[in-house]
């Protein structure tokens, strides 16, 4: 691709927030070398930087909804890392030394910058390079607790499976270039492709799209590329699991949007050809819903449960892509991601708190919280209720949007009806497995020696903030008629 094309697709100025994030990451590393501040100061600084970036992502000049989600998620994860500091020290340096914790914070910032670039990518090269920025930092972060066997295992598994998916992505990119003669993802080019090229060419083109989708599915945690998720989430340090669950998933869907949405405007011109891609996504959505939700039922480890839950939720997000003919698909996907982020981050904060004080990440470690910490238990209840899709939480609203999108999609492609049972079973199963946590909190009595949990200030603030946002966003649309 020539220089001219690049300048058409992107301007240097539009990447200002990303540059700022990377600069901050480097600054933190340098400051860590030359000063003796407590390391946790850096976590707070980084979080503030990410929040400021999130603000700019919402302005017209740098508008990028996925980038905003990623920045907010990164800020929350940094706060979580701050709270998780004690476990981190023990698992990285051994003992109480803080040595080597700062790099985690700057890696998070760099990964976040990668996601932000990704979300504005309009061609495959940009997509690939920024995706690799995210992925490479994530490999390091997953194995960051080098004294913890689970973390090392998670890092290696993630590396091996991630390399495979990168390979598929590159292969897909090559086919894309070979069949279309360009790396740009643009509706006009695709229309030409469908109109002029022969069937053989188009078969190669579908292959390229399929491979690119598989690469995106890996990040988004959708079947058939979801295998890494439970092990990696369980093994990784909790803040990193939270990052993978939220920010990295947003990256996956940003890639998916970049690849799929150019087809949206072709629906009227080439309904049959676009329908092939939509059907492919529908099959993946069904498989994802099934694997994620049924797999979650038998889990006893809270982080693993959230891993399967993240697969299940990805299934509901994929359903939005069956309705790409509607012009609100991106908005729906980002709403769903926001709802998922609020609830999942809160859940990871709760897990980190329980892990720090009760030494276990099993669901049974939540036992009796309803008695010992009723207020915290209530906030955790809101988060899990939102994940399950209980009404009057934001989680319900977005799940409803998903069903609504599906019902609308059936107008274009009535053959998709077979997806419906998968959605129903997935949503109903969600009630079962998310409520396992509530059951531990309210039905089980605290055991001998279970003391009241000391809720750290940051955790309390984040849990409260998430709960308020979840309830307000879930209730307001059902009570007030929009003006």
């Amino acid at each position: 691709m020539t220089n001219d094309n690049v300048s058409v697709l992107y301007t240097w100025g539009q990447f200002a927030p990303e540059f700022a994030l990377v600069a901050l990451a480097v600054l933190i590393l340098m400051a860590d070398c030359f000063t003796r501040l407590p390391k946790r100061v850096y976590a707070i600084t980084a979080a503030i930087g990410a929040v400021i970036c999130a603000y700019f992502m919402n302005t017209e000049a740098y508008y990028s909804p996925f980038g905003m989600i990623a920045c907010l998620a990164t800020a929350l994860v940094l706060l979580l890392a701050y709270d998780y500091h004690k476990v981190a020290c023990a698992s990285i340096g051994g003992g109480d030394t803080e040595e080597g914790t700062t790099e985690l914070y700057s890696l998070l910032l760099i990964a976040c910058a990668g996601i932000c670039c990704l979300s504005v990518a309009r061609d495959i090269i940009m997509l690939f390079v920024s995706l690799e920025v995210v992925t490479l930092s994530s490999y390091v972060m997953a194995g960051y607790f080098r004294r913890n066997q689970g973390s090392i295992e998670a890092g290696v598994k993630y590396l091996v499976l991630g390399a495979l998916s990168t390979g598929l992505l590159v292969f897909g990119a090559a086919w894309y270039y070979g069949t279309t003669g360009t790396f740009a993802l643009h509706p006009g080019l695709l229309a030409d492709m469908f109109a002029r090229q022969s069937v053989e060419f188009q078969t190669g083109f579908y292959l390229s799209i399929g491979l690119l989708l598989l690469g995106a599915f890996f990040k988004a945690g959708a079947a058939p590329m979801q295998i890494w998720i439970p092990d990696v989430y369980q093994g990784s340090p909790t803040p990193v699991s939270a990052f993978l669950a939220v920010a990295s998933k947003a990256a996956g869907f940003a890639v998916l949007v970049a690849i799929v949405m150019p087809f949206a405007r072709l629906y009227n011109l080439f309904p049959d050809k676009v329908a092939v891609i939509v059907s492919g996504i529908a099959v993946a959505a069904a498989a994802t819903l099934l694997v994620g939700n049924l797999g979650a039922i038998s889990q006893n480890n809270a982080k693993r449960l959230l891993g399967y839950s993240s697969i299940g939720q990805a299934g509901f997000i994929l359903v939005f892509f069956t309705n790409i003919a509607a012009n609100n698909t991106v908005q729906c996907v980002t709403s769903y991601l926001v709802a998922y982020m609020l609830a999942t981050v809160a859940a990871f904060f709760a897990i980190a708190m329980v892990r720090t004080q009760r030494g276990s990440e099993e669901i049974s470690a939540f036992r009796g919280l309803g008695k010992t910490n009723p207020r915290t238990a209530f906030l955790i209840t809101v988060a899990f209720a939102s994940l399950a899709g209980v009404p009057l939480t934001y989680g319900f609203m977005v799940k409803y949007y998903s069903f609504e999108a599906f019902v609308e999609a059936m107008q274009y492609q009535s053959g998709l009806i077979w997806l419906l049972p998968f959605m129903i079973v997935g949503a109903a199963a969600g009630f079962y497995y998310y409520f396992k946590v509530l059951r531990e909190m309210y039905w089980e009595k605290p055991q001998e020696g279970d003391v009241t949990l000391q809720v750290p200030v940051v955790t309390a603030a984040v849990l409260t903030g998430c709960a308020i946002a979840i309830i307000w966003l879930g209730t307001a649309p059902l009570v007030f008629i929009p003006n």
Partner: protein, 525 residues
């Protein structure tokens, strides 16, 4: 203004749950407020329909998704506030912690029900009902009787699955009609858009039907009511369960003449299923040996009558005003009665520490007031004239013969779900011929019977069978009364120490309304 019915209980629940204010007292303040506002709303919409339409559905100039334009809404709202007040007035928990949890759950449960009954937006309507399922689940699992966890899970899985089916049905309907509010849907119907039949009404009937414990989806209901703590059982059986019927009637009402085409395909199957409720579950009820199991089953059984009213309404293509009014009266009456029965059951249990019918006996000697009130509620439940249930049941049964003339049997041969299923069964290899033969036998027997009565249609014939439900009710209710309150004083009854008057007020409060609507039924029509 209707939004205060949501905000106040939620604030009260938050005060109790998060700030540890006294459970019963705080909840009582909130319930009294709701009672006053709810009764006021009922009176103002019943006696002066045009006085204040907008003021109910706005707050501070902002429009809400709430309204009382649906004729069933005020009645259901009235039911909800009365039962909530009674449930909280009669709240008697084992300890302070339990009292707080019970009060919070009762408030949230009733908020969910009220929100559903006053919502104009179909998604709010659905969402508020779903919300109410959470406290039910938690309370049965934590404070229930017997095998409480299994019961709680069974109910959750049943209701969760049904809700999903229902949501899909509602969404498909909304999408077809391009309207997401009841008002909008009504306007769409008036402008000539007709919904497609077949799958959508099937999903709606299955979804709503499971929530109302329509046979054969009723297995969750009786154990859940039997196991739930008293206020939860009162509110769920009395109020929340009516949500499904309210939804069906509202849809049929706003569709008007179209409703026959819409639901008609399933009507014959529905008639068969509701007979399952009345007769099958009726006999199951007779066989129960515990009072709570018996009441749980009886509540399932009585839903059959209201489904009958629905079938009549659909069959008349929305012209049968009597059916919908009778159904509304019956829903109100049944809600009050079953709530009162569960309330008194809680008191019997707290006095005798058992609910086995055989081990109590002669309780009326020790507690005459309890005996009197239980007798009153029991007779109301059977359908004794001058009590509210009689008004509803009588109207429903009469409505099924409105417009029917001797000899004018319903047209035979229209395609419907029932004949579809029978045809499908009779095509199965080997079983088919046998089944077809049996079916032919039943069919000719039925037409012979119908001929004796001068050519009854399917609806009228069902009514004739359903009438036997009255006899069944009388059998189990009177037998239960005899075993508990009459005869020699049993060992369990000896334990009774007497009730203080505060425990009686809640039941008397409910009894007042049962008698009021029985004596002055015109309030509801």
């Amino acid at each position: 203004m209707l939004i205060w019915l949501i905000i106040v209980p939620v604030i009260a629940a938050a005060l109790i749950g998060l700030l540890k204010t006294p459970g019963r007292a705080t909840a009582l303040v909130s319930a009294t407020f709701s009672l006053v506002l709810g009764v006021w709303a009922f009176i103002s919409t019943t006696f002066c329909p045009d006085c204040c339409i907008d003021c109910w559905s706005t707050i501070g100039g902002r429009e809400l998704w709430f309204s009382l334009e649906n004729p069933l809404s005020p009645i259901m709202l009235l039911l909800a506030v009365i039962v909530t007040f009674a449930a909280i007035l009669g709240l008697k928990a084992p300890d302070k912690d339990a009292e707080r949890s019970w009060a919070v759950s009762a408030l949230l449960l009733s908020t969910g029900a009220i929100g559903a009954f006053i919502s104009d937006n179909i998604i709010s309507f659905y969402a508020f009902h779903e919300l109410a399922l959470i406290p039910t689940f938690v309370m049965i699992g934590f404070y229930g009787r017997g095998d409480r966890r299994t019961v709680a899970w069974t109910a959750t899985v049943y209701l969760g699955l049904a809700s999903m089916v229902l949501l899909v049905g509602l969404l498909m309907l909304c999408n077809e009609m391009r309207a997401y509010t009841f008002t909008g849907m009504r306007m769409a119907i008036e402008s000539g858009i007709t919904p497609s039949t077949g799958l959508i009404p099937g999903l709606l009937l299955a979804g709503f039907g499971t929530l109302v414990s329509l046979f054969p989806f009723h297995a969750w209901a009786a154990p859940a009511y039997a196991s739930a703590p008293t206020p939860i059982a009162m509110l769920h059986a009395g109020v929340l369960k009516k949500f499904g019927l309210y939804g069906l009637f509202t849809l049929a009402w706003l569709m008007g003449p179209v409703c026959k085409d819409f639901f008609g395909y399933w009507n014959n199957l529905l008639l068969l299923l509701l007979l399952g409720n009345v007769l099958w579950v009726g006999f199951v009820t007779i066989a129960q040996t515990r009072l709570d199991d018996m009441l749980g089953n009886s509540s399932v059984m009585h839903m059959g009558y209201i489904f009958l009213a629905f079938a009549v309404y659909v069959n008349s293509a929305g012209s049968n005003e009597l059916a919908i009014k009778g159904a509304a009266a019956l829903m109100l009456a049944h809600g009050l009665t079953i709530a009162m029965l569960f309330l008194l059951t809680g008191q019997i249990e707290s006095q005798t520490r058992t609910l086995e019918l055989d081990s109590i006996g002669g309780l009326a000697r020790k507690l005459p007031w309890l005996g009197f009130l239980f007798g009153l509620a029991g007779l109301a439940s059977i359908g004794l004239p001058l009590l509210a249930n009689f008004v509803g049941e009588f109207t429903v049964f009469v409505s099924s013969f409105v417009g029917w003339q001797p000899g004018a049997a319903a047209a035979v041969g229209t395609p419907d779900a029932l004949s579809g299923i029978i045809e499908w069964l009779s095509n199965i290899w080997l079983i088919g011929p046998v089944f077809g033969w049996i079916f032919c036998g039943i069919n000719s027997a039925l037409s012979t019977v119908a001929g004796w009565f001068g050519g009854l249609g399917a609806v009228q014939l069902t009514t004739v069978f359903a009438l036997w439900g009255l006899v069944i009710s009388a059998v189990y209710m009177l037998r239960a009364f005899r075993r508990i309150f009459e005869g020699n004083t049993g060992l369990a009854a000896e334990r009774a120490t007497g009730l203080n008057s505060a425990d009686m007020w809640s039941a008397i409060f409910l009894a007042f309304f049962i008698v009021l609507f029985g004596v002055v039924p015109t309030l509801l029509f």
